[in-house]
């Protein structure tokens, strides 16, 4: 059922939308040396599965009324954050939009604290005052979690500005989606980042739909790796379903930014299996399209197939990993269900310092 492609092809477009181009030449050229070691494969497998199980749990908790408001799941896109995180070092920063649970887990934030924030409890990362879209961890270099589409692009450019100002050699990964890519402040930020040679990597997670609008219906230029062209920012398209391709491209981009050459754009060709939010019936795409991505390009199944094929793990080993992860997520869900709500006195704290 699962295609264990060594070099998986670019995701096929839906009939309606313009076909995304195959990964840029540069990533194809490096495809030969993409292979992960056993440890890397196992680490990637575990981290991606953690995100998927967390999100499945979150979806379930939402269904039970324990999580309120909006809840945007990352299922399907796991390879992007896991591969990119592998290219970072301590001190680097990460910032993203509202589909942020995967990014938080990838930076090493505690699933308990994230889940408790989703349920609005005092043990949440923002003491229950931020919710799904607004969480932070200075310790892990995670700067949110931002609910206004595109705002994080200027903010991430500002984080990179601070790195540049301090000359600390750090890089800021600034994630946004194909939808945010059309916002004006994105280009204002591109301009300043290139002008001042800021150490920022812009990661455009092209999951093909801005809420319910297909890329081709909202974007005049659907090759997002070219969106920096008029600012002289280099960019490339990456198979965002293959964690090895993501890591390889991430390392190139991060090295570029860290060495003082300025910003770099990575367009991740990825796919979200679930709706935009929990209340999205996903009428704008066919079930076949979703199913095809799941069976042929699933980022986790790709790693799983390689692990089995190479004899680096048995079915039994992988089952054990899954069981361990499920236990962690159940514990997180349990904590998030029993932790008390914030004390009423918290209403007036943290407005000003």
């Amino acid at each position: 059922m699962v295609v264990a492609a060594k070099k998986s092809p670019a995701p096929k477009a839906a009939a309606k939308s313009a076909a995304p181009k195959a990964p840029a030449k540069r990533s194809e050229r490096t495809a030969a040396k993409l292979d992960f070691s056993k440890d890397q494969e196992l680490a990637a497998y575990r981290q991606m599965l953690e995100i998927r199980r967390f999100e499945e749990k979150a979806g379930q908790m939402y269904g039970m009324g324990l999580i309120g408001g909006f809840c945007h799941l990352y299922i399907g896109q796991e390879a992007v954050v896991v591969g990119m995180q592998m290219a970072l070092k301590t001190g680097d920063q990460v910032i993203t939009g509202y589909r942020d649970h995967g990014h938080m887990l990838a930076t090493g934030m505690d699933p308990k604290g994230v889940m408790a924030e989703l349920t609005g409890r005092r043990g949440g990362y923002s003491k229950g005052k931020g919710g799904s879209m607004h969480m932070f961890s200075i310790e892990k270099g995670f700067f949110g979690g931002h609910g206004i589409v595109g705002a994080q692009v200027s903010l991430g450019t500002g984080l990179a500005f601070a790195d540049h100002y301090r000359g600390n050699g750090n890089v800021c990964l600034t994630y946004f989606g194909d939808g945010a890519s059309n916002q004006g402040q994105v280009y204002e930020s591109f301009n300043m980042a290139e002008l001042w040679k800021l150490p920022v990597v812009y990661i455009i997670e092209n999951n093909r739909y801005a809420m319910g609008t297909a890329v081709s219906r909202a974007s005049a230029q659907t090759d997002f790796s070219k969106r920096g062209a008029s600012f002289n920012i280099p960019g490339e398209q990456v198979d965002g379903m293959d964690v090895r391709a993501v890591k390889a491209a991430g390392e190139r981009a991060v090295e570029f930014a860290r060495s003082g050459k300025g910003p770099y754009i990575l367009e991740m060709l990825t796919y979200r299996y679930r709706g935009h939010s929990m209340s999205d019936p996903a009428k704008y795409r066919s079930k076949e399209e979703v199913q095809k991505m799941r069976t042929e390009h699933d980022p986790i199944e790709q790693v799983r197939a390689r692990l089995l094929e190479k004899g680096w793990a048995s079915e039994e080993d992988l089952k054990t990993i899954d069981a361990e992860i499920r236990e962690v997520m159940n514990a997180a869900a349990d904590f998030a269900s029993h932790d008390p709500e914030p004390d009423p006195s918290e209403l007036y704290t943290d407005v000003l310092r």
Binding site: E56, K57, G59, M61, Y62, G63, M64, G65, L66, G68, F70, Q93, Y125, S126, K127, G128, G130, H134, I138, F143, G144, G145, H146, G147, I148, A151, V153, S154, L155, T157, G158, L159, F161, A162, D163, Y165, G184, Q185, E188, S189, N191, M192, L195, R274, G275, M278, S279, P281, K283, R294, P340, E341, P344, S345, L347, Y348, D350, V351, L352, R353
Partner: protein, 465 residues
Amino acid sequence: MPTEILMPALSPTMEKGNLSKWIKKEGDTVKSGDVIAEIETDKATMEVEAVDEGTLGKILVPEGTQDVAVNTPIALILAEGEDAGAAAAAPTPKAAESAPPVAAAPAEPAPVVTAAPAPAAPAVVSAPAPEPEVPEGTEMVNQTMREALRDAMAEEMRRDGDVFVMGEEVAEYQGAYKITQGLLQEFGAKRVIDTPITEHGFAGVGVGAAMAGLKPIVEFMTFNFAMQAIDQIINSAAKTLYMSGGQIQCSIVFRGPNGAAARVAAQHSQDYTAWYSHIPGLKVVAPYTAADAKGLLKAAIRDPNPVIFLENEILYGHASPVPKLDDFIVPLGKARIARPGKDVTLVAWSIGMQYALKGAEELAKLGIDAEVIDLRTIRPMDTETILASVRKTGRLVTVEEGWGQSGVGAEIAARVMEQAFDYLDAPVLRVYGKDVPMPYAANLEKLALPNVQEVVEAARAVTYR
């Protein structure tokens, strides 16, 4: 133990739905991500995906059932080794009518709904005794507000390497209004940064730098252009400390001229004091004297919060005495009694003080002794100083160039009515800009702005003289 699959809520407001179709049958193997059923909500038909793995042991709610309450068990998943016998003991499904409401149904503890009333907001400013900000015998130097603002920034930049200034024309051009004159020469291009004309973007870059711990001074050529950046100011700068549970602070100053200049018409002549003063998480400052401009700007730069620092173009060239001190600070949140009096209280700030002070002189000729309060900081507002004055005079007039509706004067009037009603001997009157976009023609512009005569008339009306 079999795992119950519960009727899911698929939107923030869903309480019940129809189980339109079972995709999986009893006995089918189910794994995470498999679609097991379709649910119809009031908005759409949605697929339900399995989270747990195993065998679909028993369907508890048949397809076609209407109005199934959220959190009702709809099926049982059996883990490896479990048989359907375990399912027999399962609870029978409840009809929507008898099903408990969302919050009470799940096996997991439901969120506690806090019904208790919100606690009272903490008092922001207690009655501060007026502290002498300047020691006796300090030498005073006459300075324009322009020079005072520049000195404040230069002193803070010398003191703290994390402070930098960015904005349009702040460096090479030496400031569109010459407020940053000489800063590039002293501090270099790394700390005095010319930006492209992209307010939204560079405001966001400034906020991001502040989140990383730097202390930016973001100059807007005028606050009219900051409307392009207001999302970053409010949604990012003002709210992040709260939304992060106190983790991410944003120490940043947004400054520049605000309000009407002269003959630049509607888009370039707007007062944003009331706009920003509406927002929790911001501090809002609007100085009138050169000394206050210097001391307040230094305090604003050191403040750990985002501060909106509203200057006035017409006041830039006005000179007034500034104390010659190494580190002159005026605390935020404290009003100043600019002129003591006993008959009527006039409250103003920024250029509004011109009308108030001239009005007080005119009133003195009529034998009316006006007390003039320079509010200086609009948020947090020094209500105590206003109340203390009103308790003495029993009468209040507010003066501002901004519009009346939802204006700062309206807020002051409400607070005084709430907290000092018994002391009022007359209704509070407000003097404010006319309810029109600013016209270009000289005569119309003059009519649109408040004037001294209006202040005098309002004060006479509330003193019945």
